[in-house]
């Protein structure tokens, strides 16, 4: 792996931990949530290299992280949200949003449209991954209760 990518992974760990502190996650859960952030970017780099499509990679990573969150939620007896929201922090398309803003500012219509669509695609892929896993887990949960 390249030096920059390792740096990114470390940065995503620190960033997720920062958010976990802001959301008042404590103890072991703080650590698990931050590791989730690290994992999400690690998987993103790997999958993106293998597939070459950012949007698909976003979707897959979001699925993987949701499963991770479900597992951690069972182990640490905490709501799944705890781990989902912090682990997916590095995946939030902040850079993409910024460049959308800049192209809007520069009055570059075509570019703006392209970037805005890309940002929305990334956000949708992210949320869909979470939704798919949540739906599966609920189905599973229901049939287990019956």
């Amino acid at each position: 792996m390249v030096k920059e990518e390792i740096l990114q992974i470390i940065a995503s760990f620190i960033g997720s931990m920062g958010f976990a502190i802001l959301f008042n996650i404590r103890g072991n859960r703080l650590f698990a949530a931050s590791i989730g952030g690290l994992l999400s970017w690690l998987f993103f780099i790997l999958i993106n290299k293998a597939i070459g499509s950012e949007v698909v990679a976003y979707f897959l990573v979001s699925c993987i992280i949701s499963v991770y969150a479900e597992i951690m939620a069972r182990i640490m007896k905490s709501p799944t949200t705890t781990f989902v929201i912090t682990s997916l922090i590095p995946m939030i398309p902040g850079g993409s949003l910024y460049y959308t803003m800049v192209s809007a500012f520069q009055n570059n219509g075509n570019d703006f449209f392209q970037k805005a669509t890309h940002t929305l695609e990334l956000a949708a892929a992210l949320a869909l991954g979470v939704v798919v896993v949540t739906a599966f887990m609920r189905m599973f949960h229901k049939s287990a209760n019956q």
Partner: protein, 251 residues
Amino acid sequence: MLKLFECAMDIGEQMLISGAEVYRVEESINRMCYAFGAKRVDVFIITSSMVVTIYTNEGETFTQSRRVTTTKFNIEKLHKLNDLSREICEKNLSAEEIRKKLEKAVNSKTFPLWLEFLSSAAIGGAFTLFFGGNFTEAVVSFFVGAVVWLCLYFADRFIPNKIFSKFYASAIATLLAFLSVKFGLIQVEDKVIIGNIMTLIPGIGLTNAIRDLFSGDSIAGLLRFTDAALTALAIAAGYYLIAVVGGVFLW
């Protein structure tokens, strides 16, 4: 029964405030009320209000509603409330016992302010590195992140409108980034701004919105979606303001 019902409502309200998903709150209230011995429970919850009616075996009906105006993510509190609602379903707690535990959960410890301050700064720095900024840019971003936290902190006290406080935090972050370029601390402003946008961006709001939408809580989902979209617009407006005004007067 009425007292117990009130406790369940208060627990639900606090869960909603600390950032729980709508379906979790609905489920918790349902379970708690059935555990109290209700014959039928009708729950309607969106992110900003909740209405619950219960029917008892004695033929009485009770309805209560709550208006929720603030949300502040507090996972520790949510965790404790979740435990409490489970405990209520398993054991027969009296209303006084529940009250005591609820109080404890609501007043659960938070991290000291300086640590929040520091982590906000660290988020700014870390994401500047993350998006490919160099070390100097990360250091600048660290300090900008600290200022942004101060802005949001004071905005929380003096400005009741959350969206406006995001607008002005984004404007200040952009201003500081442009100023550090002007004074030659860094070459380009974009990485510093991106790093600090990450603290303001409603990524979680948007994810939760789509989750709610797909799990059948369409109204709650739409509310969250609107909120996220407006916040994103506010951030963009803050940037726009500085870029335009600065472009005319400063550089």
